[in-house]
Symmetry: C2
Subunit: 308 residues, 2 copies
């Protein structure tokens, strides 16, 4: 598959490029970055329009830009007949991603909305363990230091930037994948620094027909001294499951359970190759819908200003 | 159809009860209201649980409570095997309504999410006129006085109360119905009074593959001296369409176009009877999704406190 990466930055260089190489069957033939960075020996462009008009004989694109500009780029790539892989979150509204899905369907190309945290090998093992169970307790704790993980990233604080939901949506992507039933938001509290347009912390109460209690999620970007990315579940038949480190470690009843699979981004590129071979799109809006619902129903609490 | 109304208040008495009588085929056999109000000669209850355990041989319920409590009530009614009609908006999150749709499907009952403004007779005429067209200008202006239309209604200002989107979602329900293509939110500005948890005004920019320009919507609850509920559309082939008074009057190229149909709520009860006869649910989440997207991507601007 002849592929280009649009929005070439740290995640593209660290994860996408090596994963394509590891999986095989991909040829990186172009990159786009407003700053002109890319990969030595691969043509680089400063806009997706330049890329699309360069006559590169492309099959596909991976779009790894900030989410607010993804729709317009993806729309043009789909219109150009390219299979399209979107980094998480796939857009800044549900509506624009639904429209991309319709456009891809109409054009006969594959659209793949990726949620990398779902591809951690232990996540599939957690899905198996929880299948058919009833949940009696479930909590998500997602705490990290925004100064460490997003230094100088201004867009995360702007409308459409998601704030603490930028990491929090990873937790929601895992939770919605492993939960043995639908998951939806009951209520939420969003904490906005006085000088920021996006929340720095959030508390959610979730509900599910597969649960006998309310479920909780806590996201916090004000956490220094090491991150905590943990999901705990307890079933009515007494099983205790803990996913740690963002889905990369699983314990069931206190014992480590190994995962299987090639790892987050290699798994994404394996799946993309399968989807393209089968001409089948995979559009999962659930993590974005949970986020939109939290913004819709959430109480906004203004807190002290936050400076990087 | 033996039906009960849950959440008996002004809209139930003014619209639902006479519309059932007008359409025919309905028998109102119970009402629920926390204050115990209802219709003379019809058994009234103070909770939906009381209603469901009263042995009334019910076929269906219409739920006209404030939206925040609708999910739990609807879930119990669906579980009890009742066809379920929901006033707008059908819930406070997309996720809970999707879950109700799944539950209704599993139970084999009909779920009908109603958007009364869509049932104004001229709306169907507007759909016909705009079908297949390309839009070059589109604006929604929805201005009313919250003191006149929602006196003493505290829930509209609380999380899950929607604020100015409570009327605004009516405009979005018409717009999404008449627009000749998908409609989604590009950006939004939400104006929150300092002492309120919900916006008193909002400006949205919308986008569509069926439009060659950006589209606008303005909702404002600070408008005294008569309401304005207007949608204007202009097509690339020069047609000018105006829907006034909340969808109840249509002008095309300056000429009044009469609508056909029995009117808002009678049309809803006609459709409900058809859906039940065909055992087919009708779940339209688009207006709620547009609202959730506006909250997700919107910039929040705090303005002066607002007192009733």
């Amino acid at each position: 598959m002849r592929i280009a990466i649009i929005g070439f930055g740290k995640i593209a260089g660290d994860q996408h490029v090596p994963s394509m190489a590891k999986v095989g069957g991909y040829e990186l033939v172009g990159t786009v970055s407003r700053q002109g960075v890319g990969v030595e020996g691969v043509p680089s462009f400063t806009s997706h329009s330049e890329l699309l008009s360069a006559g590169l004989d492309l099959d596909a694109v991976a779009i790894t830009t900030p989410p607010s500009v993804r729709y317009a780029i993806a729309r043009d790539c789909i219109e150009a007949g390219l299979h399209t892989l979107l980094e998480k979150p796939p857009g800044v509204t549900l509506g624009e991603v639904e429209e991309l899905a319709r456009a891809a369907e109409a054009k006969g190309v594959v659209l793949f909305t990726t949620w990398h945290a779902q591809h951690n090998p232990p996540v599939a093992a957690a899905v198996e363990r929880l299948r058919g169970k009833t949940i009696k307790a479930f909590s998500i704790v997602w705490r990290e230091d925004v100064r460490k993980w997003h230094p100088g990233q201004l867009w995360i604080w702007e409308p459409g930037g998601f704030g603490v939901f930028d990491p929090g949506i990873n937790a929601l992507s895992i939770a919605s994948r492993i939960f043995p039933g639908a998951l939806f938001v009951r209520d939420a509290e969003l904490f906005f620094p006085a000088n920021r347009a996006q929340p720095i912390a959030a508390k959610l109460t979730l509900e599910s027909p597969a649960a006998v209690a309310q479920l909780s999620a806590e996201f916090d970007w004000r956490h220094s001294g090491g991150e905590e990315w943990t999901i705990r579940a307890e079933t009515t038949d007494g099983m205790k499951l803990v996913l740690r480190d963002g889905g990369s470690k699983l314990e069931v009843d206190g014992e480590a359970v190994p995962g299987t699979g090639p790892g987050e981004y290699p798994s994404i590129y394996e799946e993309f190759a399968e989807l393209v071979a089968q001409k089948r799109s995979h559009v999962d809006l659930t993590p974005l819908r949970l986020t939109a619902d939290a913004f819709l129903v959430g109480r906004r609490t203004q807190i002290e200003a936050f400076d990087d």
